[in-house]
Symmetry: C2
Subunit: 191 residues, 2 copies
């Protein structure tokens, strides 16, 4: 997606430890119009899959997942990283290492909102190592739901996420794919 | 907003401690279409204020704040509750007691995304005691920004939030207002 590539090139910042900071339009501050166009792009790419629910992880997946759900006309569920008091005692919980947090985080979904037989489209901001998305897939499977596709705003192709997801045979769509950030220079795949 | 009232009446659950659980359409699972219509309603109500940015608090404020920002054509900033590694060392930070978490939480904004002179519209899911919204107002003031309005999906009129905000002289808009949840029965103002 050209618009998102251009925005990353202009406003993304490569930080120490291979972190791409996109806090000015995806994470801390969100460009709502851009997120809406990204959600529309995901909805078009995944329109044929018959998804009944979008699944993401709080916090930074919420914006693109919400706009995708809006364009598909289905609800979105975001996995919580801590259990709120409104959640029942019996939950689906998995652990996933977080690159940006430098520790393992919990991903928790209430059985109330993910049912056996649902078709789940997973949307997140980044596809890097794939650890968060694999965690969401485990949660969906625990609920007896079927994951039908995976979408990410930004793929870092050099962190192995696509390979980690590969054996599942799912359609994996990234709106932008970064093949290198060496020396602080962002290079997109195919450029 | 009749649609939101009806949904709360149908799917909201009154829990112990005066908590209204709306996890099936606002918090854990989000009805994207409903959130879009709520955002449109806020945008219409606040259209004349010339807001340059929507401000909310992660996590549950993000959905209505994002759709409001989308309909106003401006960005949204969500205050973080923990400082990510992408955030600079010097931040705006305030403390706010959280009713649902039963403890005080930090609200943190990077000075990169809230500037002197900005006109800020605050949107959140609940207006209860007003503690979170007052925290967001303190952050905006610390940045030299001007808060021009406050919107909430659900006001609990018996928890004093509107009175706490009253002395600031801001327009405060709630799409639904609950005057009582005694005995588990949800009563809306004016009904």
């Amino acid at each position: 997606m050209k618009e998102l590539e251009d925005r990353i090139q202009r406003d993304g910042q490569v930080m120490a430890g291979g972190i791409l900071k996109v806090d000015s339009f995806v994470n801390h501050q969100v460009d709502a119009g851009l997120m809406d166009r990204c959600g529309k792009a995901f909805a078009e790419r995944f329109a044929e899959l018959g998804a009944t629910k979008v699944l993401t992880a709080e916090i930074s997946g919420i914006a693109p997942a919400l706009t995708t759900a809006l364009h598909l006309g289905i609800p979105v569920v975001y996995a919580r990283k801590s259990k709120p008091i409104t959640m029942p005692d019996q939950v689906y919980l998995t652990l996933a290492p977080s690159h940006t947090k430098g520790r393992t985080v919990e991903l928790i979904i209430s059985p109330e909102y993910l049912a056996h037989g649902e078709k789940v489209l997973i949307i997140d901001d980044f596809l890097a190592s794939g650890a968060t998305i694999l965690g969401l897939i485990r949660l969906a499977e625990a609920a007896g739901a079927k994951v039908v596709g995976v979408g990410a705003l930004i793929e870092k192709t050099f962190e192995g996420g696509r390979e980690a997801l590969g054996k599942l045979g799912l359609p994996v769509v990234s709106l932008t794919a970064i093949s290198s950030m060496d020396g602080g220079r962002i290079v997109f795949s195919g450029h």
